[in-house]
Amino acid sequence: MRAGVIAALATILTAALLRLLLGVPLPVELVSDRFLPFIPVELFVGMLGIFGGPILSKQLAFYSSFLGLLATGALIGLLSSRLERRRLAILAGGALGLWLVALAALWPALASNYRGLPPGQATLVTAAGLLVIAAVFVVSLAVAERRL
C-alpha cells in the first residue's frame, strides 16, 4: 500500500504539472466534460443544490479527485503487492488497457487544451498526457515496491 500511495503522489504531481505547463486537462475535467452534458438540466441544478451550489460543488470535485487518486493508488499498491509473478507486466498491461479505455470513453473531450492548442494537436497532447500519467504510476509503483 505504501508503494501505491507514493506512486499516486507521483501521478498527481505529473497530472498537475501537465495541467499547469501544457494545459492538459486533469482527469476530473475530462470526465466531467464528457458526461455532465448528458445530465438533464433539472437533475444538474438539483445536484448543484445538494452540494451547496456551483462553487462548493466544484471545490468538492477538485479536491476529491486528488483524494480519489490517492485512494485508488493505495488500493492498486495493495493488490499489486499480492501478485507473486509477472507483477510489472500485469501492471503495465493494466495501465495500457485503462489508457485505451479512457481514450475510447473520453474521446470527444480530449480535444480540450487549456493553453490554446488547436483541437487536432490538443487531442494528441491530451492522449499522450494520459499515457504519461499512467506510465508514471506504473514506473513509480514498480520502483517503490523494489526500492522502498
Partner: protein
C-alpha cells in the same frame, strides 16, 4: 527505523509536498474566487469594470491561452475553409459595440448581468469569406476548454454578432475568453462562447454542452431589477429608487415602478440606455410616509411587450417574474 522505511518516508514526503504545492497553484488559478460574483445594489455602473463583470463557467480552472499557439478555424459546410492567427483577425476592420450579457441562471433580482464595450469583427465578415454552402443552416462553436454551443446561421450573420478581442479598451481578460470570444446579443451568455477556436457551419441539429442538458438560451426574457433600496432595508425618506432593466437585443422602451405591491404603477426615468443591446439603468424619486412598503418593478421591451409577471425559475430558459422588494421607511 530501517533504511527502506526512511527512504519511503522521505520520498513520500517530498512527493506530498510537491503535489500539495502544485494543487495549491491550481487552486489559485481556479474559478473558485471569482465565479458567480454579482454586482448589484448601489455599486452598479453603466459600464461594468472588467474585474467586476460576472463570470459563469463550466470550468474548475479557466484556460490561459497562449496567443501564438492559438488558431481560429472556420470549417464545415463551406467552400473555403480558413484558419486564422490572432494577428490576422486583429488586422481586420473592427467595430466597437456596447452590449450587455446576462447569464441564463440569473434569478429574478440577481446580478449575473453586466455591460461592456466590446471590440471585434462582425462574425458575418469571417463567415462570408468561407462561402457557406447552400445546406448550411446552423453554426456550431467550439472552444479551447471543450465547451460547445450552437446558434442559427441567421443569428450568426446578424451584424451585431461579434468575434470580440477587446473588452472596455483592453485585451480580453483570461476569464472572459482571451484571445477571442463571441458576443451574441439577444441570447443568454452561454451562447457568447469564450476562448473560441473553431466555427463550424453545419446542416444538422447537433447540440452543445448546455444545450444537451436542456437549457434553451437563444432568447433573453425581458427583466427588470430594483438595486436601491435593497430588500429588507430600513431607509429615511426621500428615496431614489434605482435599478436596471434588460431585454436582450430588443431594447427597453419603458420601466414602471409600484410602491404598493403592484396595485398602481408610475413611469420611472431611464437614465442610461446606450442602445437596444444594452441594459437600461432607471431611477424614480419617491417621498413616502413612514411605514412598510413593497416595491415592484416591470419593464416593457422595445417592441412594446411587457415583461412576464409569471414567476418561473431559471430552468430551462431563464427566469421570469417581477422583482419585489420590501422596505421600511423610517419615521
Amino acid at each position: 527505523m530501517n533504511r527502506r522505511t526512511f527512504l519511503a518516508g522521505a520520498t513520500g514526503g517530498v512527493l506530498a509536498l510537491g503535489s500539495a504545492g502544485l494543487i495549491e497553484a491550481l487552486r489559485r488559478r481556479s474559478v473558485f474566487g471569482y465565479e458567480g460574483i454579482e454586482v448589484i445594489g448601489a455599486g452598479v455602473q453603466p459600464i461594468t469594470p472588467n474585474d467586476k463583470f460576472y463570470v459563469v463557467t463550466k470550468n474548475l480552472i479557466d484556460p490561459r491561452v497562449v496567443r501564438d499557439r492559438w488558431r481560429l478555424e472556420l470549417s464545415g459546410q463551406v467552400a473555403e475553409p480558413m484558419t486564422l492567427a490572432f494577428e490576422e483577425i486583429a488586422n481586420l476592420q473592427a467595430v466597437e459595440q456596447e452590449t450587455t450579457l446576462e447569464c441564463i441562471s440569473n434569478g429574478v433580482g440577481r446580478g449575473l448581468m453586466s455591460n461592456a464595450v466590446w471590440k471585434g469583427i462582425p462574425l458575418r465578415e469571417l463567415i462570408g469569406e468561407t462561402q457557406p454552402e447552400a445546406g448550411a443552416r446552423r453554426v456550431f462553436f467550439h472552444a479551447s476548454d471543450g465547451y460547445t454551443h450552437s446558434t442559427t446561421l441567421e443569428k450568426a450573420l446578424e451584424p451585431t454578432t461579434l468575434l470580440a478581442f477587446e473588452m472596455n479598451g483592453e485585451p480580453l481578460p483570461d476569464r472572459h475568453g482571451y484571445p477571442t470570444r463571441l458576443i451574441v446579443p439577444g441570447a443568454y451568455g452561454e451562447v457568447s462562447v469564450k476562448w473560441i477556436d473553431r466555427i463550424e457551419l453545419i446542416d444538422d441539429d447537433r447540440e452543445g454542452y448546455y444545450e444537451k442538458q436542456g437549457w434553451k438560451a437563444q432568447r433573453v426574457h425581458t427583466m427588470s431589477r430594483i438595486d436601491v433600496p435593497v430588500k429588507g432595508s430600513s431607509v429615511p425618506a426621500p428615496v431614489e429608487i434605482r435599478g436596471a432593466a434588460f431585454a436582450g437585443d430588443r431594447g427597453i422602451s419603458k420601466v414602471e415602478v409600484s410602491t404598493d405591491g403592484g396595485d398602481t404603477w408610475r413611469d420611472a426615468e431611464i437614465v442610461y440606455h446606450a442602445s437596444p443591446l444594452t441594459w437600461a439603468l432607471w431611477s424614480s424619486p419617491w417621498r413616502p410616509s413612514p411605514g412598510d412598503y413593497e416595491l415592484v418593478v416591470r419593464a416593457t421591451d422595445g417592441a412594446g411587450e411587457l415583461q412576464s409577471s409569471v414567476v418561473d425559475d431559471t430552468v430551462p430558459d431563464g427566469a421570469t417574474g417581477f422583482h419585489r422588494v420590501q422596505v421600511r421607511i423610517e419615521a
